[in-house]
């Protein structure tokens, strides 16, 4: 068994799965069944995989290779597809625990499964493992310290600080300037009203793909949102706001336009039309979220 091990996690392939998973075993096996291939599009799999490998590594380190608990990983690909069929798996990821056994067991039995619940999956895994193997050590590994990156950050920070220090007067003048604050407040508000906090609290997906691999930018429902929606919507809001401010502040104050009324009309009309289309776009996007919304301006929903 130990011979087949490369690193802390044993890779299960179509050549070795029978000997490992069918038993008999004189060791305990913790098996992660996953699909990290981006074509499968299993978000949780790719997210969870590194924590699993890290937990296995921590365990190997803590037990100095003397542990009787082995970690194994079965990844979905063309070659391993028959194993998945034999195990009758519909969805991944799954974390199974195969206890020691004296006689061979079929693939579809003889294991316990960890539920993927809410919260930190790494922590849940460790707790689950601890409940199965109370006398073994498991822990959530800390991310490794990246000294190079830290050094780079410190250097960069120091250089920045020095530059700022050299131009202190200028920086202070600009920093305290009204427009910087105006921009900062406006952008903050823009970010919040387009659902940024929803993304950060719910850890939403950035984007989705349908069966034909076409991107999906909007999911319907008032309490559903993708990460990209916030970006698109805040962009539309921002464009509309900029046009509006231009209409109020820039156009009427432009010396050139005051002299040439025709040009003024052209510019004003252009901005008004731009606002109209941006607003139409916003409402078309809103139609994707609220299917029953009865009103629309120009229908621009075809773009999404």
């Amino acid at each position: 068994m130990a011979k087949q091990k490369s690193g802390d996690v044993l890779r299960i392939t179509h050549t070795n799965y029978e000997s490992i998973m069918n038993g008999p075993r004189d060791y305990d096996l913790v098996l992660l069944i996953t699909a990290t291939d981006p074509r499968v599009g299993c978000h949780l799999c790719t997210e969870y995989n590194p924590s699993f490998i890290a937990i296995a590594g921590e365990h190997a380190k803590a037990s100095q290779g003397k542990s009787n608990v082995f970690f194994a990983l079965l990844d979905f690909n063309e070659k391993s597809r028959p194993i998945f069929q034999q195990m009758q798996l519909q969805n991944v990821p799954k974390l199974y625990y195969y206890p020691k056994t004296a006689k061979p067991t079929p693939l579809t039995a003889g294991f316990e499964q960890m539920p993927f619940m809410e919260g930190s999956h790494a922590e849940n895994t460790v707790n689950w493992l601890l409940s199965k193997f109370p006398d073994h050590k498991f822990s959530v590994p800390l991310p490794p310290t990246d000294y190079a990156s830290a050094a780079l950050t410190v250097t960069f920070g120091a250089v920045c600080a020095y530059v700022v220090y050299l131009n202190l007067a200028k920086v202070v003048r600009n920093f305290l300037g009204k427009n910087v604050w105006a921009l900062a407040s406006t952008l903050t508000v823009l970010m919040f009203v387009s659902g940024y906090m929803f993304n950060s609290i719910r850890d939403t997906q950035y984007m989705r793909y349908d069966a034909d691999k076409n991107p999906i930018y909007f999911v319907s429902g008032h309490q559903m949102q993708l990460g990209v929606e916030t970006q698109i919507v805040s962009f539309i809001y921002g464009i509309l706001s900029i046009f509006f401010v231009g209409l109020v502040q820039k156009l009427p104050r432009s010396e050139k336009l005051l002299k040439n009324r025709k040009a003024e009309f052209a510019a004003t009309a252009a901005v008004c039309v731009a606002i109209f289309f941006a607003y139409s776009l916003l409402i078309s996007v809103f139609h994707k979220k609220n299917l029953g919304y009865p009103y629309s301006l120009a229908n621009l929903g075809v773009f999404f």
Binding site: S185, T188, I201, S241, V245, R261, F265
Partner: protein, 721 residues
């Protein structure tokens, strides 16, 4: 010339009055959809408690109300209701009732409660008018008033029948802010005292007063940082803080919080700071600048060190309460999810996705940032206030969907200012008339460019009106006690199961019967059925709620012990499977499990309610624990009988319920409403022969030879759909 100006002024004044009155009319009438469609009825959950408390207030006197100990909820603990509620709302409607009665207009207290929110929304529009007029001019004020009058974000909490604290709180919020701005501008003790008075009313009315408690100090703090300290600010803030804090401590529920809870520390800190700044200003005016610099550095370091260590020491000594849970969940959004399932389970505490912002404010949401930017162009003290309010509140509204309500007024104000600035530029007819030396062609183009702007924004404003009417009519006007649906032929069908069941309880159960239901329905049972409940929407005792959750998620025999120990006579469950009503107890069931698991992790485990695949199912794959739980049994008891020979489908979860009989030994079905939404079970008292109920039940089943129940079951054939 003089008479003309005075005539114009009078006309302008009269026009303003007419406009404000029409806005008030629009505000009230757009909130009456539910009264017209259904009837004058109190909505949802919390309003039922407020209504019950108001009835208590008008039936007894004010002192009795403040000392009210309610033994009809939280059985057997009871609740010190008078000391744990914000009395502002009830006192307001009580006062209105008394005044109207003095004017010999006796009106049913229910109608006052139902119509209080629309009436106050008209006042909100007026307060917003005053507030915005202070920021720009009365034109912008009128526009802001019109916008807030119909903005769905505010209508959502103030339709007729939604008799909740927020109904009057937004009015008070805007009034307090108006008075505060006035006080800052004038540096007047009078206005500041009025502001404090209004703040007191706000504290009495809604827990959200903490927002004001932090916003006003923050305003002062930012102004000090901007170097705008002045004696006017000193007068305004010290008056407001001293009077406001003292007044707010008079509310029993608030008590000593303003000097102990961390939520209020910012106000205290700024109060200290402004004294120091005032003192520093005095020292500065009477010493040389070099001496002053040393003085400043030394004192700053000292003060910061003292302040921070003092805060830590007091918190460590337990003299200052830690951040309260609900407030904490605003800052550390992970905290609530992990530690307080009861907060995470309330939909009002969910974060807000972007459609909700758009839905609630439509085109104002993109005028909002533009409005903030335009405010920066003037940037007087009061504009700083609005900017802080906007930034802070948009964060809060993003974290907690309920706070959309507080954000809506400022969105309307900013939007109104933005549009008003646009109209100032493009509706300026004087300029158009003055440019005389230009050619005619130029004139036409000038006129055209104005027309296109005015017309397009006029159109957007009209569109906004349509949007608001549609939203408030379709989304925010459902009483949720009575549901509306459509028959196959398109006619309206009213689903009145809740009231049917509560009325049945009121008529058929003993007056001191104790009813166990999930806490969502506590207030309604208290208000409509007038029976004692174990838990209600005032979720003050997590353990007690967990007890109910445990009873619901335990197998029948264990649940029966809990029921008997708590003197429960009836158990009430909400079941939407027949109708496809998704807000039912089976969908809320996981929260019951989670909350009780938080207290008894050894008895209840959320995991065991899922299938082996980790799915939440109610069909034949459902886990054994799930199928044995009391909630499952009470929901699906005799469900398949409705379907006769067909498969019994749960229309919410789209799953087929197993056809085997569910046996209940210790409870018996006494009532099931027309659409099966409410099911009421009576808890059996001990067996006559002294057996335990399980034994008796299984004996009876054997004796009768399989399934043969008593004859009094209702004819289910009639109910088949």
């Amino acid at each position: 010339m003089k008479p003309l100006t005075s005539v114009l002024q009078t006309t302008a004044f009269a026009l303003k009055v007419v406009i404000i009155l029409s806005i008030a009319g629009a505000a009230i009438s757009s909130r009456l959809f539910s009264v017209i469609r259904f009837e004058s009825i109190i909505h949802e959950f919390d309003p039922w408690f407020n209504y019950r408390a108001t009835k208590y207030l008008v039936e007894n006197n004010f002192n009795d109300f403040l000392n009210w100990f309610d033994d009809r909820t939280w059985y057997p603990l009871g609740r010190v209701t008078g000391g744990t509620l914000y009395p502002g709302l009830m006192v307001t409607s009580g006062a209105i009732w008394h005044v109207l009665r003095k004017l010999s207009m006796p009106i049913d207290i229910r109608n006052i409660c139902v119509l209080l929110a629309p009436a106050f929304s008209a006042l909100t529009a007026y307060a917003t008018y005053l507030f915005t007029s202070e920021l720009k001019d009365s034109g912008a004020g009128l526009l802001a008033a019109a916008l807030i009058a119909i903005a769905p974000g505010y209508i959502s909490r103030s339709v007729a029948g939604s008799y909740d604290n927020e109904a009057i709180a937004i009015t008070l919020l805007m009034t307090t802010f108006y008075l505060w701005i006035k006080a800052c501008k004038l540096g007047s003790i009078f206005w500041s005292a009025l502001s404090a008075l209004c703040y007191f009313y706000m504290v009495a009315a809604w827990g959200g007063y903490v927002f004001i408690t932090n916003l006003i100090p923050l305003h002062i703090f930012v102004l000090i940082l901007m170097g705008r300290y002045s004696a006017k600010l000193y007068v305004a803030y010290t008056t407001w803080y001293a009077l406001g804090t003292l007044a707010s401590m008079q509310i029993p529920f608030v008590g000593f919080l303003p000097i102990r809870s961390n939520d209020h520390m910012a106000a205290l800190g700024v109060f200290g700071l402004i004294q120091l700044v005032a003192f520093g200003n005095y020292v500065k005016s009477s010493t040389s600048s070099k001496q002053f610099k040393t003085f400043l550095t030394v004192s700053l370091v000292l003060i910061i060190a003292l302040g921070v260590s003092g805060l830590f020491a007091l918190t460590a000594a337990g003299l200052i309460a830690p951040w309260t849970g609900r407030f904490y969940s605003l800052w550390d959004t992970g905290y609530a999810k992990l530690h307080i399932p009861i907060i995470a389970s309330v939909s009002e505490h969910q974060p807000t996705a972007w459609p909700a912002f758009f839905f609630d404010t439509q085109f104002l949401i993109w005028l909002f940032p533009a409005g903030i930017y335009l405010l920066f162009q003037d940037l007087a003290n009061e504009h700083v206030f609005v900017i802080i309010y906007s930034v802070l509140c948009s964060y809060f509204a993003g974290v907690m969907i309920r706070l959309m309500l507080v954000l809506t007024p400022v969105i309307c104000v900013c939007g109104a200012i933005a549009i008003s600035k646009l109209f100032d530029v493009y509706l300026n007819l004087r300029e158009l008339a003055a440019t005389s030396e230009e050619t005619r062609k130029d004139r036409i183009f000038q006129l055209l460019s104005r027309m296109i702007v005015i017309m397009s924004f006029g159109f957007y404003l009209c569109f906004f009106v349509y949007h608001c009417t549609w939203v408030s009519s379709t989304a925010y006007s459902s009483p949720s006690v009575v549901l509306a649906s459509r028959n196959p032929d398109g006619s309206q069908a009213i689903i009145d199961d809740y009231r049917e069941a509560y009325y049945w309880l009121r008529m058929n159960s003993p007056e001191d019967a104790k009813i166990m239901a999930w806490w969502d329905y506590g207030y309604q049972i208290g208000g409509m059925a007038d029976r004692t409940t174990l838990v209600d929407n005032n979720t003050w005792n997590n353990t007690h709620i967990a007890t109910v959750g445990k009873a619901m998620s335990s197998p029948e025999d264990k649940a029966y012990e809990i029921l008997v120990n708590h003197d429960v006579d009836y158990v009430l469950v909400i079941f939407g499977g027949l109708l496809g009503y998704s807000g039912d107890d089976i969908n809320k069931f996981l929260w019951m499990v989670r909350i009780s698991e938080g207290i008894w992790p050894e008895d209840i485990s959320e995991r065991s309610f899922f299938t082996a695949r980790g799915e939440y199912k109610v069909d034949d794959q459902a886990s054994q624990t799930m199928q044995n739980s009391l909630m499952y049994k009470l929901s699906y008891y005799r469900y398949h009988e409705v379907f006769g020979m067909q498969a019994a489908t749960d229309r919410v979860r789209n799953q087929v319920i197993p056809k085997k009989d569910i046996e209940l030994d210790s409870l018996e079905e006494v009532f099931t409403s027309e659409n099966w939404i409410v099911r009421v079970y009576q808890v059996k008292k001990g067996d006559n022969a002294g057996r335990n109920l399980q034994e008796a039940g299984s004996f009876e089943r054997k004796a009768k030879g399989g399934r043969n129940r008593s004859a009094k079951k209702p004819e289910v054939g009639l109910r088949e759909l």
